[in-house]
């Protein structure tokens, strides 16, 4: 009848697990948490206690879970902002800046365009955010195509410019006149705020990453255009010989990627902050980039990696609040997780 599984079966299962990409990632993540536990122990804290607090504050309660969900919104969007250009071979490290510009554009519409009804206002802000991020990302493509400037450098440096650009407005023309001198814009009116859902801090911006993931997945895996993008990313010369308009795909991929990061900015100001201020992002775009690499740019896997990073960040906030660890320590953990996931990936035998 039911035999206990034999040693061979157990070995076979273990082998299958350690050979499957998802299985290897799980082992890698556990490894990273173990290394971080050693770090916690070295600085004289109890790792079990720290991890328990993190777990209780994130996955262990309804409030914690909803907070993780809130954080996932920008991570998923900025991860897609890296993943979609990556499909055509572009490296978009500018999600942070594109997010800021998207937030700026959405704020501009919210404060200075008189639309009135929430049904038109929110879509208008989303479009503005998308366009802002897309144009900001598009500059990198302009520089790349006409002046041979590699997009890694241009997107990296444009992050710093975007942050200063937002500061220029919130410390200057857009500063709230009744804000006691703080560098905030005026608060948004009711019609510019994404309504909250399920009686939590979760807000309607949640539909953005959901649509983003589904659309990206279907587009990339089910359409001819998605297959063409993969061809462009694999070998642009071969793709060109097959008659694929390579440049058009590169432009569109970058504009859509930048646009999604811009949407993340719109969702942050409209769903969470309700005004624009300096430092709205605090590395959201950078961590989205890491989430995309951790997921190997696979849109479905991005859900998992964004969830993991969101949980770590929320857990870090809990620890910061309780005075256990400064939230900067979470950057160390996220770095360890990424190194580990990348390092545990199977080495492909290169054809020599």
């Amino acid at each position: 009848m039911n035999q206990p599984i034999s040693l061979q079966q157990a070995q076979g299962f273990a082998f299958a697990f350690t050979n499957h990409p998802a299985g290897r990632s799980v082992i890698a993540i556990i490894f990273a948490f173990v290394v971080f536990a050693i770090f916690i122990a070295v600085i004289g804290r109890d790792p079990i206690e720290i991890y328990t607090k993190m777990f209780e504050g994130t996955l262990g309660s309804k409030v914690g879970l909803s907070e993780v969900g809130v954080r996932m919104i920008p991570f998923v969007l900025t991860a897609l902002a890296a993943a979609i250009p990556a499909r055509v071979g572009l490296i978009n490290v500018g999600g942070e800046g594109q997010l800021y510009i998207g937030a700026w554009a959405a704020t501009g519409v919210a404060l200075y365009v008189d639309i009135g009804t929430i049904w038109l206002m929110l879509p208008a802000m989303a479009i503005a955010g998308f366009l802002g991020g897309a144009i900001w990302g598009g500059i990198a493509i302009l520089l790349r195509h006409w002046r041979n400037v590699n997009e890694v450098i241009s997107t990296l440096l444009s992050n710093y410019v975007a942050i200063l650009f937002v500061n220029f407005f919130v410390f200057g023309a857009w500063k709230n006149p009744t804000g006691f001198g703080y560098p905030y814009t005026s608060n948004f009116e009711f019609e510019s705020i994404l309504p909250s859902i399920f009686d939590t801090r979760l807000h309607l911006g949640l539909v953005l990453p959901i649509i983003g993931i589904i659309a990206t997945y279907l587009f990339l895996s089910r359409t001819r255009w998605g297959a063409n993008m993969r061809a462009v990313g694999g070998n642009p010369d071969a793709a060109r010989r097959r008659g694929i308009p390579v440049l058009r795909y590169i432009i569109i991929a970058m504009l859509v990627g930048g646009g999604l990061a811009g949407l993340a900015g719109m969702s942050e100001v409209s769903g969470i902050q309700h005004h624009l201020r300096p430092g709205i992002s605090n590395n959201l775009g950078f961590m989205g980039f890491l989430a995309s690499w951790m997921a190997n740019h696979n849109p479905i896997a991005i859900i998992g990696t964004s969830f993991l990073i969101a949980a770590i960040v929320v857990g870090g906030d809990i620890l910061q609040f309780s005075g256990d660890l400064p939230s900067a320590a979470m950057l160390i953990l996220i770095g360890l997780v990424l190194f580990s996931v990348l390092g545990f990936r199977r080495l492909e035998r290169k054809a020599e």
Partner: protein, 307 residues
């Protein structure tokens, strides 16, 4: 008109200090890239150098020990990079970028208690005679010791790259790992050494920032200088002498911005702060075609800019 001369003179004086930290990081990244690797963790190594150089100086009271600690910290971070990209074949750009965030995390954590610390730090040394040259002398020859080392290091690196066996090995690996291996060189050892040197120099650049220029530590104080260095290496067409031009251009942009703020130019400081980044992008765009031709073969797979 006298205002213009005042601003220009001040810019020149103000250009050298901020330029030196970027120059070290650029030298370091240049060595790394000549060996066929690109390290976006340069920004992280700079932060490590700035932070641990400062901490060790506070704790030991010796700025010399601090400077060496900064180099060790920068090199230590780039060794993580070396293991992952060379032995685990991970993506260089993603690994380097993650390393920068990792370094930002470590330094933010380790440096918390030192934000208000006061140090003697590195102080300017006047070179007799040379420092009395009008305008130029004060700008170039009234600097701290790290600046003088940086002046000499550029030409030395140039000679080393082109006329020593080590330099030729480095370039050979950057052009083709297979050919270098066939010629009896050990590509892994050379790339590890190049990454270590790159990290150490970036750490030194960070130390110049915290110990020499500002005498303070603050979280994230490099604000992208390590990434600027990666861009400058491309602008410099992988030549240490052109790297000096690029770094002082960046320093000049910072000097100009500070000068304009001092004389009360009617421009927002936030717009002026954009200047250094915009100027780097601008010069990269101007000289990009020459860079594309001179790029080491080993980098072409990673840093392509045409499709």
């Amino acid at each position: 008109m006298s205002d213009v001369w005042l601003v220009l003179g001040g810019t020149l004086t103000g250009a050298v200090g901020p330029g030196i930290s970027v120059l070290y990081a650029t030298y370091g990244e240049l060595i790394t890239e000549r060996a066929g690797r690109i390290n976006l963790g340069t920004e992280g190594s700079m932060l490590m150098g700035a932070c641990f150089g400062f901490i060790v100086t506070v704790e030991t009271g010796s700025v010399t020990v601090g400077v060496f600690a900064a180099m060790a910290a920068g090199a230590g971070l780039s060794m993580v990079m070396a293991y992952l990209v060379i032995y685990r074949d991970t993506n260089q750009l993603a690994t380097g970028f993650a390393l920068t965030l990792f370094g930002a995390g470590i330094t933010a954590y380790a440096g918390r208690g030192y934000v208000d610390s006061i140090i003697g730090g590195l102080n300017p040394i006047s070179i007799p005679l040379l420092s009395e040259i009008p305008k130029l002398g004060q700008a170039l020859f009234q600097q701290d010791i790290l600046a003088y080392i940086a002046y000499v290091l550029g030409p030395l690196l140039f000679l080393g790259l082109h006329y020593t066996r080590a330099g030729l090995s480095l370039k050979a690996v950057g052009e083709s790992i297979e050919v270098a291996f066939a010629a009896g060189r050990n590509p892994h050892v050379i790339q590890i050494a190049a990454l270590a040197a790159g990290g150490a120099l970036a750490g030194l650049g960070g130390a110049q920032l915290s110990l020499g220029l500002t005498h303070t530590w603050s979280e994230g104080m490099t604000v992208g200088r390590g990434f600027v260095a990666v861009g400058l290496v491309i602008f410099a067409i992988w030549s240490p002498l052109r790297a000096m031009v690029g770094a002082f251009l960046f320093g000049g942009a910072i000097g100009l911005q500070l000068q304009l703020q001092t004389v009360g130019a009617p421009v927002s400081p936030f717009i002026l702060d954009m200047l250094p980044y915009l100027i780097i992008l601008f010069v990269m765009a101007l000289w990009s075609r020459a860079s594309a031709r001179a790029m080491p073969e080993g980098l072409k797979g990673v840093l392509k800019a045409t499709t």
